[in-house]
């Protein structure tokens, strides 16, 4: 079917502005992704899936400039022993990065891999993204597969002694970064991946994650404080039997963020937790779009999203649990809540359940509310001034999402960071 004329025009214009990297083992996947984009067209505001978030600036030929945020704050996760991999405006920076060798894991740069004729990554690159295109189209992810210029491929074979930290630095006010990472976790292996920083003026990122039976992956993100940056990220996770995937994303600032998470259970007795906390002030639009497919028995999924919004900030949540026929004993939980600190801010939520099995427990809830007055009075009656009391109650609101982080030191670090940000805005 032909695309609507406007969509056809904008898609063609955008495709004409980028070059598909040629040669090597990834070219077929890139070409297939390109034809997916041509078939779907890039998103526009008439698309149901983009009803609450305007994609214009994410697909335009020119990048809307974003000033680089100057701060003396130490970047997230700095205090932890980690293997750091640095990208500046979407380009791998070897000098700023650590040596990529670490026991229990092999790490390679995507740009190095794609020149090779044979590599394990060709069986995953663009494959999980393509699977994630049904039943809902995600054209920005296919666009990423076709045109990604850099990224890392990580093969977790054991239990690395420290987390792998992808750090994204933003240095140029009109940079346009397209990164694509592939993570493969072997059976019984376990790793933690940290991501931090704003990446670029405009950032399109895809992470494909394949977790084999009994594998575990922790993913923790802090999306950087640059006020004007825009980001569209996708993660596609494919979970084997008795595997576990736990992700937490912290977002403070950024005019536009769309984080999509697509999780598919194909092996029994697995679990996936996808959580996020965001704090937005003023010109801030934050969209969490989650799609979890249960296609196996006795799997547990949790979605926990909390948004603090003020001065006209907007929060969006589109979360779906799809339980396929035969996916018995599914335990699906979904909660999305916003704390609206004034009347100008808004939260738009679309929770969805679609269930084709009869022995499942699925629940979802969504609320918008003001700060808890009883808690606020309790703190003030102990002498805590109203500004600080409001911040503490804000942390209390975010707690359920932050508690999704298994590592108590990282959770405490995220909490301290949040409290510091809140205090500075008081």
């Amino acid at each position: 079917m032909a695309l609507p004329e406007l969509k056809q025009t904008t898609t063609e214009a955008r495709l004409a502005s980028v070059t598909l990297p040629e040669g090597g083992c990834l070219e077929p996947a890139r070409r297939a992704a390109l034809s997916r984009v041509q078939g779907m067209g890039l998103p526009d505001r008439r698309d149901e899936y983009w009803k609450y978030t305007r994609p214009d600036t994410l697909i335009s030929v020119d990048v809307t400039k974003a000033a680089v945020f100057e701060t003396d704050e130490t970047p997230a996760f700095s205090e932890f022993d980690r293997l750091q991999i640095v990208f500046v405006d979407g380009v791998f920076d070897a000098e700023a990065s650590d040596d990529l060798s670490l026991e229990g894991v092999s790490i390679e740069r995507l740009a190095d891999v794609q020149g090779k004729d044979i590599h394990w990554v060709k069986d995953l690159y663009g494959v999980l993204e393509a699977r994630g295109q049904t039943p809902v189209e995600r054209p920005l992810a296919a666009f990423n597969t076709a045109f990604a210029t850099d990224g890392v491929v990580i093969h977790v074979t054991g239990t690395p002694s420290k987390p792998i930290n992808l750090t994204y630095r933003h240095a140029n006010d009109s940079s346009d970064a397209i990164l694509h990472h592939v993570i493969k976790v072997d059976s019984g292996a376990e790793a933690t991946i940290l991501e931090n920083g704003p990446a670029a003026a405009r950032f399109n990122k895809v992470m494909e994650i394949d977790i084999a039976d009994k594998g575990t992956l922790h993913l923790l993100r802090a999306q950087g404080r640059d006020h004007e940056r825009r980001a569209a990220t996708h993660l596609f996770a494919h979970l084997g039997e008795e595997s576990a995937f736990k992700s937490f994303t912290l977002t403070v600032n950024g005019v536009l963020t769309r984080n999509e998470a697509v999780v598919e259970f194909t092996g029994d007795n697995a679990m996936a937790h996808v959580a996020g906390a965001c704090v937005g002030d003023g010109d801030f639009h934050h969209d969490d779009t989650v799609f979890i497919t249960h296609d196996a028995v006795n799997c547990e999924s949790r979605q926990v999203f909390k948004k603090v919004l003020r001065n006209g900030a907007t929060g969006v949540f589109q979360g779906k649990i799809l339980v396929k026929e035969g996916a018995q004993k599914t335990d699906g939980y979904q909660i999305s809540q916003s704390l609206l600190l004034d009347d100008d801010s808004q939260f738009l939520a679309k929770p969805e359940l679609e269930i084709y099995a009869d022995d499942v427990a699925c629940s979802h809830g969504s609320t918008s509310g003001a700060i808890d007055e009883d808690g606020l009075f309790y703190l003030r009656s102990r002498g805590v001034p109203i500004g600080e009391a409001t911040d503490l109650m804000t942390l209390a609101f975010l707690a359920e999402a932050v508690e999704e982080i298994d590592d108590s030191e990282i959770a405490a670090s995220i909490n301290d960071r949040l409290y510091g940000w809140l205090a500075r805005r008081r």
Partner: protein, 251 residues
């Protein structure tokens, strides 16, 4: 110490008068108890003194050590020395009990122009006071009141009181939901704080708390007023005969 004169209070949102002329003076070093049937205005009095939203003072005044309270924000009243032990202490997830206590203590010290307590000094004091209330290190680490039992919550209130060293302590039905042992522990905590410079206002339905925290003066409140004042024997009278006799007597 605390002086309440002709206090009239209505609900902010509806035309309902709750307090209709309360007069009460609590001297330093004394324990006053207020008893009274449900809906008499006891809890409202405690909220109005500590500054909770939702009430409108239509007449009268309340002062602490000569300073007018009713115009002040709750945190300013706290710094001045008002402390309310809540009937239902609020749970605050994500905020550690210890962080909360230190924030409260140091906020008050700052407001009074005193030096803030260092982390190590604070820790020393809090550990010692927690021990006498049988509050362990685990409870201090946990988020404020989250997952605490009824007794633990009330002990945590008394710990806050001990740390903040207020001039005027108001206890709003601190005995509710406590078994005998827990009540004794809480009462011991309160008694340890009794001294010359501090006043107490103990709000309760029952005489039994007053067996452990012996009051100097007992007031009976009904329909927004204090209708009778006497010694500890008045509480015993209520325990035996209920409020009906007193209510008819003053009618």
């Amino acid at each position: 110490m605390l002086e309440i004169k002709n206090l009239h209070v209505k609900l902010e949102d509806e035309d309902k008068q709750i307090l209709k002329g309360v007069n009460l003076t609590v001297e330093a070093g004394k324990v006053h108890a207020i008893m009274g049937p449900n809906g008499s205005g006891k809890s409202t009095l405690s909220y109005v003194l500590s500054g909770k939203d939702g009430y409108e003072v239509t007449e009268g005044s309340a002062t602490l050590g000569g300073e007018e309270l009713l115009e002040l924000e709750p945190e300013e009243r706290a710094a001045l020395g008002i402390f309310l032990a809540f009937q239902y202490p609020v749970e605050i997830p994500g905020v550690g009990n210890m962080t909360f206590l230190r924030t409260a203590v140091n906020s008050q010290r700052k407001a009074r122009g005193e030096e803030e307590l260092s982390a190590s000094d604070f820790l020393k004091v809090v550990r010692e006071k927690a021990k006498t209330l049988k509050i362990d290190a685990e409870m201090l680490k946990r988020p404020v009141n989250v997952g605490f039992s009824g007794g633990e919550k009330k002990r945590n209130e008394i710990l806050q009181m001990a740390m903040l060293e207020p001039k005027m302590c108001i206890l709003d039905e601190t005995d509710s939901g406590l078994d005998v042992d827990a009540m004794k522990l809480v009462a011991d905590g309160v008694n340890a704080l009794r001294d010359e410079g501090r006043g107490f206002l103990v709000i309760t339905h029952y005489q039994r708390l007053l067996d452990h925290i012996k009051p100097d003066v007992v007031h009976i409140m009904a329909n927004g007023r204090i209708i009778k004042t006497g010694g500890p024997e008045l509480a015993l009278e209520v325990e035996h005969n209920g409020y009906a006799d007193i209510l008819t007597e003053v009618a």
